[in-house]
């Protein structure tokens, strides 16, 4: 890997800055105690805040999923009533999407984008602080709706009108406010990431020199800015329908419930890619590291990401094949949806060709990345099946769909986040994560996640609709298996928490370049990365990228 080492000068330079008296003086400006975390504008601290927030939301949303799985363990109503069950499925979805997966990626971007492009911090540090602190407020409000009269949101995370307007519990207005805040947070975060990537790259780093993680985040950020306002618009229309007597979605007043779904999915489908593109970036960084081989087809990876992003705006109505669209619309959205399989396939082929004739080792981050490739591809296959509109009439709104999107989101997005955490923990803490517990965590998660989600394919094909608290007897075995898998997967995440806590407290010391095959810019910095890095941008002219 010697040829990939950077020129000596920038390396020494950044180290000397970090250790210099000037930097110490700088640090004295920081308050101590909780106020420090409240007021911090440092990208690493805000990144940490995002990641901790996301982990706590992941655990809360996970507990809700376990309530759902507990009720579905057997047919009949045992643990909870349908009203509460619906609140659990809804909250689980909202929290995992907006509270766990998205903030985790933003947290990783906060930490790693400046380090990978040689920037001293994010471009807009105060905005960064603001966009993080909106989140705890938004989600406290969202969770508080569970205690309000009539209960919390109970209309599914897709909140289709008029169930979410005319027929919704009174707390829906709070739900809208919470979602508005989370949306503002995402938009501000995205603006910050774009500003950082476009303006703060170190001299000598061109766009096509950036790591795939930075590239995918750049494209994701544009997606966020494009679609978050659409979500804001649609929930504002809901707010008006609920509180101000308008009839956007109320058929009795001349409104159109299908309009809601068009607007929602115009946001919702790009949103799906917002949750998976950064995952592609992470895997594209980890796989070459542990295969000790350059990423195959770097340029086509970038192009494929851009293609997926553009196509994501053209496929939204494949979520609405059963809603009664005209034939031409069904055909259009079927064709575009099938097209999106092509760039996605290219990505998988590129990863596998990167592995081919590499020199592969299996550290925990690599295990998660490899599981991502296999299990995400399985989710992609069911996605391809769902694209076939006539067959989708049978799959739509069944557990087959639940299996599909959980495959792309859990062993997809969530595994990539875990891979990223294991991969960058040495850089964050200066210690290697415990390899033995990491392996236990990995294998229990893989077994649990497949036992949890694979039987859902069968339940769906056999005819089980999603979002039901009780089901016919022929679905009983599938559900029991899923529930057992769910508890296995859920409880093995405690190992994840354990690994992280252990790693923060100590462990085997990691050198600057913690992984032998790693070659990106962050590994030129000491581990743990000091609070201030690249205060003078490194000169990367002549640096051999990826």
């Amino acid at each position: 890997m010697a040829p990939n080492l950077p020129p000596k000068a920038p390396l020494e330079h950044s180290q000397s800055v970090a250790g210099s008296p000037a930097a110490h003086e700088e640090e004295h400006h920081y308050r101590s105690g909780p106020l420090r975390w409240l007021l911090t504008t440092n990208h690493k601290e805000i990144g940490t805040l995002y990641l901790i927030f996301s982990l706590s939301m992941f655990l809360i949303g996970g507990v809700m999923a376990l309530v759902v799985r507990l009720e579905l363990f057997q047919p009949g109503l045992q643990m909870v009533q349908p009203e509460f069950f619906n609140q659990m499925t809804t909250m689980h979805g909202l929290i995992m999407v907006f509270g766990a997966v998205m903030p985790a990626f933003v947290g990783l971007a906060n930490w790693m984008v400046p380090l990978q492009i040689g920037a001293p911090d994010m471009a807009l540090p105060r905005l960064n602080n603001f966009s993080f602190w909106l989140l705890p407020i938004a989600f406290t409000l969202l969770l508080a709706t569970l205690l309000m009269p009539g209960g919390g949101p109970n209309f599914g995370w897709t909140f289709y009108a008029p169930l979410s307007t005319t027929y919704a519990p009174p707390s829906t207005t709070f739900f809208i406010f919470a979602l508005h805040m989370a949306g503002i947070s995402s938009i501000l975060g995205a603006i910050n990431i774009i500003a950082t990537i476009l303006n703060l790259r170190a001299p000598g780093m061109r766009l096509m020199d950036m790591t795939l993680f930075v590239w995918t985040w750049l494209i994701t950020a544009f997606l966020l800015i494009a679609v978050m306002p659409v979500l804001a618009g649609v929930i504002t229309m809901m707010l008006l329908d609920i509180n101000f007597g308008t009839s956007f979605f109320n058929a009795a007043g001349g409104g159109d419930p299908v309009l809601f779904q068009h607007l929602f999915w115009f946001f919702g489908h790009p949103e799906v890619y917002i949750m998976i593109l950064p995952a592609f970036g992470i895997v594209s960084v980890i796989v070459p590291t542990f295969a000790r081989k350059r990423l195959f087809g770097y340029a086509s990876m970038v192009y494929a990401t851009a293609s997926i992003a553009i196509l994501s705006f053209l496929v939204w109505a494949h979520h609405m094949f059963a809603v009664g669209l005209p034939l031409v619309a069904e055909l259009f959205f079927m064709y575009t949806t099938m097209l999106i399989a092509v760039p996605t396939g290219v990505k998988v082929f590129n990863w596998i060709t990167t592995l081919f004739r590499g020199s592969i080792t299996f550290e925990t981050p690599m295990l998660f990345a490899l599981a991502f490739i296999v299990l995400f591809t399985i989710g992609g296959f069911s996605g391809l099946m769902l694209a076939i509109a006539p067959a989708d009439f049978q799959y739509h709104d069944t557990y087959f769909v639940v299996a599909h999107f959980h495959y792309v989101l859990v062993p997809g997005a969530v595994f990539s986040i875990m891979a990223a955490v294991y991969y960058w923990l040495p850089k964050w803490t200066g210690h290697y994560p415990d390899e033995r517990i990491g392996r236990w965590h990995f294998w229990l998660s893989v077994i649990g996640v497949n036992l949890l989600f694979f039987p859902m394919h069968f339940a769906g094909l056999a005819g089980m609709p999603r979002r039901i608290p009780d089901y016919a007897l022929q679905f009983a075995d599938f559900n029991m298996a899923s529930s057992i898998g769910g508890f296995l997967f859920g409880f093995s995440q405690l190992l994840f928490v354990w690994v992280i806590v252990k790693c923060v407290r100590g462990g085997a010391k990691a050198p600057a370049k913690a992984w032998e095959g790693a070659s990106d810019l962050e590994w030129t910095l000491p581990s743990p990365a000091p609070l201030h890095t690249f205060e003078t941008p490194p000169d990367l002219r002549g640096f051999k990228f990826h």
């Binding site: 340029a299 086509s300 055909l331 259009f332 064709y335 290219v346």
Partner: protein, 57 residues
């Protein structure tokens, strides 16, 4: 111009020769690529729509 269109089309397809990519990035202006990209994306929508209309015929 035709070279730009060719480059954008190969970007849509996702495969590009390294020399051509290098040439585009060193000599091309981002603006032209973005404009051509948007125009061709719209053209693609129109083509798919035309196919759908014909198929529904």
């Amino acid at each position: 111009m035709w070279e730009v269109v060719k480059s954008v089309l190969s970007a849509f397809f996702g495969v590009q020769r390294e020399q051509r990519r290098r040439r585009d990035f060193e000599q091309g202006k981002p603006g032209t690529f973005i404009v051509v990209g948007i125009v061709l994306a719209m053209l693609m929508v129109i083509v798919v729509m035309a196919i759908a209309i014909m198929a529904a015929g």
